[in-house]
């Protein structure tokens, strides 16, 4: 099942209540993570961290990974991309290409992300809403990220980045868009199904750690 990890409800800057988004997701046959920065009872809840500088980012990351099911960093700025991709408290570096001419992922970031397990996000919403030259540029950036991922082995996660119920996509639709953007069907399915689940699982285990690398195991 496609787990869409970057969806916003009314509680951040969306236009739908969490319960409504859950209804709509059920109709589409997908699972949702709401990254409002609010803990929703009974739903996968994440946080999207926005920071202007590296210092601000590090300060903002303190403590959030214990509170939420996953942590997203709002990417785009070169320094933020670098700092986020090496920090294992981060699960997703969202749209590292936002507001940039290049993909925002260079060899350093690619290597760091592969090592730290941070997934680089490909945001379907930015492909869907753009047209003409803007979409061409968007697709080029996605191509770059895909090429680097094949070489360095970091994970790619696909999300809708939805801020309204109409921006959600089913798994078949999301897969069709990714394949049109150059993914193989296997890569598309991994970015939609396997990677989100892995990220959530990893965060769940990390929460049980009492200190770095030491985890309490119940018997």
């Amino acid at each position: 099942m496609f787990t869409d990890l970057r969806v916003h409800s009314l509680l951040s800057d969306g236009v739908d209540s969490p319960a409504r988004l859950r209804e709509e997701a059920a109709r589409l046959g997908i699972a949702l993570g709401l990254c409002d920065g609010v803990v929703h009872e009974g739903m996968i809840s994440g946080v999207e961290v926005r920071a202007e500088s590296r210092r601000e980012l590090l300060r903002a990351l303190r403590g959030v990974s214990r509170k939420f099911d996953y942590v997203v960093v709002h990417g785009g700025d070169a320094k933020i991309n670098r700092a986020a991709s090496r920090d294992s408290r981060v699960d997703i570096l969202a749209h590292p290409y936002r507001g940039r001419r290049d993909s925002g992922v260079d060899a350093v970031i690619a290597r760091q992300a592969a090592e730290s397990g941070v997934a680089i996000e490909v945001d379907l919403g930015s492909i869907i809403s753009a047209r003409g030259f803007a979409r061409v540029r968007q697709l080029q950036k996605v191509h770059r990220i895909l090429t680097l991922s094949r070489k360095y082995g970091f994970r790619i996660v696909a999300t809708s980045g939805a801020k309204s119920r109409y921006e959600l996509r089913s798994e078949r639709e999301a897969e069709a868009i990714l394949v049109s953007a150059g993914f193989t069907p296997e890569e598309a399915r991994r970015a939609l199904e396997e990677v989100p689940l892995r990220l959530l699982e990893r965060r769940r285990l990390a929460k049980q750690e009492i200190s770095r690398g030491v985890r309490l195991v119940e018997d």
């Binding site: 209540s17 319960a19 009872e41 119920r165």
Partner: protein, 179 residues
């Protein structure tokens, strides 16, 4: 016996894809057809669309659902073309593909004419300390207009008319815990 125009092996192998329009208002067949074509053309180009042989065959303006036909090799591209339509006449839409089939008969039987519609509704409601005027509903879901300028701005930005709520939200059984 009818004479076969083409030997079976050379006939085009077609796939029919059913879809429905999810939006705040109903659209005409014209509008939908133009949106699908311009989307396919923008993403795959003239040669691409020719190879796909994408055509809108039917669109029911009452049900707001219909189907396109394409060659059996380009089903994924056709679904992408439908899915990449983000707005029609300035309103946010989702052309949701419902399913694929090799015959129109099976398509109708399996996917079409089974949708529940929004019906007009009335009333005011409160959610998250804000007031709303309920406009329409479908099962548990209801769409509402906000009485709040900040939310109205946000709707305009998203090109959506209504705030999406559920009946449970209105009864106040929120499942959002803390803010």
């Amino acid at each position: 016996m009818k004479i076969k125009a083409l030997p079976p092996a050379l006939r085009m192998r077609k796939r029919y894809i059913a879809f429905c329009v999810e939006s705040d208002r109903a659209f005409s067949r014209e509008e939908v057809a133009r949106a699908i074509f311009s989307s396919a053309l923008s993403m795959f180009g003239e040669a691409g669309v020719a190879e796909m042989s994408l055509t809108l065959l039917d669109f029911d303006e009452g049900e707001q659902e219909g189907f396109v036909v394409c060659s059996h090799r380009s089903v994924a591209q056709a679904i992408a073309a439908l899915s990449l339509v983000s707005e029609i006449s300035g309103e946010r839409v989702h052309l949701r593909s419902l399913g694929t089939s090799g015959t129109v008969r099976a398509l109708r039987r399996k996917f079409l004419n089974r949708r529940r519609h929004f019906i007009n509704a009335e009333g005011t409601a409160k959610f998250m300390g804000k007031e709303f005027v309920v406009v329409r509903e479908r099962g548990e879901c209801c769409d509402a207009l906000p009485r709040d300028d900040e939310l109205a701005e946000r709707l305009k930005l998203r090109k959506v008319r209504f705030i999406g709520l559920t009946k449970r939200d209105l009864r106040g059984e929120e499942d959002a815990a803390d803010t």
